[in-house]
């Protein structure tokens, strides 16, 4: 493998030059302008805070991560479930399709205050928001995937006398898997960020709340620490979901 032959340093620079450049520019910018740490801390100060107060971060990460994961799973289940229901009934899919296309191009962040007003300002509302935000991509992608089995395969199933349920289980659902994987990739990166915006607005718990609270208490290092942690988790989720998508695509198409 060529991967392992490249020297480690070269590999690091090749893969991470952009991120390294960004961090160096940040450090230099703060040092040169002599910003007060309340206004803008250096990346090293943020890192220092991360290492010296791991407890605060861990507690809030656990909450936000749990909400994001649980909401993502629920949203995908509800989205896929509704897509399957719509697959069974052409009338339901005709009624629902344009609505969901409409909703999926709506700026969801604008809906967060409305949902918060409707459901109250607590953690279950944050969960509901994550479910709603991950629901749309899964419904849209699952519906279109269920409708795109390989040409002719549906006729074969019919000729062999399989029931509608068999058709769903053995043909339509496997055919929809690559699409569902795309929905999963899109939704997983958004789940954490959506949870954070909701926590930030409602001031309940979690990383978004930690950010809002420390920001207004002028503990800027901790606010940036919370953002840094969220960035790393969300980027990791995006990469992991990309890997899952690739595996699913190889397996099902």
């Amino acid at each position: 493998m060529e991967e392992t032959k490249r020297p480690l340093l070269l590999r690091l620079v090749e893969d991470y030059w952009g991120i390294l450049l960004l961090l160096i520019a940040w450090q230099a910018w703060v040092v040169i302008n002599r910003f007060n740490p309340i206004v803008m801390p250096t990346p090293t100060a943020v890192l220092h805070d991360l290492v010296s107060h791991p407890g605060v971060y861990l507690d809030n990460v656990a909450i936000t991560l749990a909400i994001a994961v649980f909401g993502l799973v629920m949203g995908m289940l509800v989205g896929t479930g509704l897509a399957v229901a719509a697959w069974f009934s052409p009338i339901a899919s005709g009624l629902l399709n344009p609505l969901t296309v409409l909703f999926s191009s709506v700026p969801v962040v604008a809906l967060i205050p409305v949902i918060a007003r409707l459901l109250g300002y607590d953690t279950s509302t944050v969960l509901a928001i994550v479910v709603i935000i991950t629901f749309f991509p899964s419904f849209v992608f699952a519906s279109s995937g269920l409708r795109q089995p390989p040409p002719g395969s549906e006729d074969l199933f019919r000729v062999l006398g399989s029931s509608r349920l068999d058709l769903l289980r053995r043909l339509a659902l496997p055919a929809a898997m690559p699409n569902l994987a795309i929905a999963f990739k899109l939704a997983s990166a958004h789940a954490i960020l959506a949870a954070m915006v909701a926590e930030f607005l409602m001031g309940t718990t979690g990383l978004g709340y930690l950010f809002a609270k420390t920001k207004s208490d002028f503990q800027t290092e901790q606010a940036f620490g919370a953002s840094l942690v969220a960035t790393v988790i969300s980027a990791a989720a995006f990469l992991a979901a990309g890997w899952v998508e690739k595996k699913v695509r190889e397996r099902y198409s």
């Binding site: 090749e14 009338i91 800027t220 953002s227 990469l239």
Partner: protein, 245 residues
């Protein structure tokens, strides 16, 4: 035909349901009837407020859209022409996209001004989507075409300008379409960090002051601005696919 009818019927049903839920107040006072919201949207004494807010947000969104799309296009093109930079730029884009928007606000507030923070946050959202779609579009030219260009003696830049860029156009336009709602979200979040006016400010103020109908008006304005330009870009996308797809 039947599908169109069902679709329109579905939307009408949704709007009617909204009105009924609002009138009967099953979900409490936080869900006003659609007619109340539309009444306020059309009220002459509110028009100036809505126009100012919508104008400010659209201006930030358009600016951020332009910056982000240019940056995404340029970085994707550079990474395509200099493969050594490719892996690093992929990771940079993924990380930039993972920074929570609420953290971008304070950073740009220090880096720029209060007025340009919404556009800057919005540009980061757009940058990622355009970068990803252009990067994948630039690889769509078939090997046969590449060989033909090589045989005819085209250099790297000519091949890029005459073959790979045109092949990437449909992806670019799809990216531009998907980027619009994201740009709008960026501008709205950016406005929460001290912008003088905008839809985002309207939403936050209405939320904190329990002005329920006003809140829904602001949300409807945001949705309308999103759908209108999203629709326009969808038409552009169809044209691009018909010509270059």
């Amino acid at each position: 035909m039947r599908q169109t009818f069902l679709g329109v019927f579905g939307i009408v049903l949704f709007l009617a349901l909204w009105e009924v839920v609002g009138r009967t107040q099953v979900l409490g006072i936080s869900w006003p009837p659609l007619s109340d919201v539309l009444d306020m949207l059309a009220a002459p004494d509110r028009r100036a407020l809505f126009q100012r807010a919508l104008g400010a947000t659209l201006e930030s969104t358009a600016l951020g859209y332009l910056w982000g799309a240019s940056a995404g296009l340029i970085l994707a093109a550079v990474a395509h022409l200099l493969p050594a930079l490719r892996r690093g730029s992929d990771r940079l884009a993924a990380v930039l996209n993972s920074v929570p928007s609420i953290a971008l606000g304070p950073i740009f507030l220090v880096l720029l001004t209060r007025e340009s923070t919404p556009a800057a946050v919005s540009s980061i959202h757009v940058f990622f989507i355009v970068f990803v779609s252009v990067s994948s579009g630039l690889q769509r030219a078939t090997p046969a075409h590449r060989d033909l260009f090589a045989v005819l003696g085209a250099d790297r830049l000519k091949r890029f300008g005459r073959l790979e860029m045109p092949a990437a156009l449909p992806s670019l336009v799809s990216g531009l379409r998907l980027a619009w709602p994201a740009a709008l979200i960026g501008a709205i979040i950016g406005e929460w960090f001290g912008a003088p006016r905008g839809i985002g400010i309207l939403i936050i103020n209405a939320m904190q002051n329990f002005q329920i109908v006003l809140l829904w008006c602001a949300v409807l304005l945001a949705v309308g601005a999103s759908l209108f330009f999203y629709g326009l870009l969808t038409l552009l996308e169809r044209a691009a696919y018909a010509r270059f797809g």
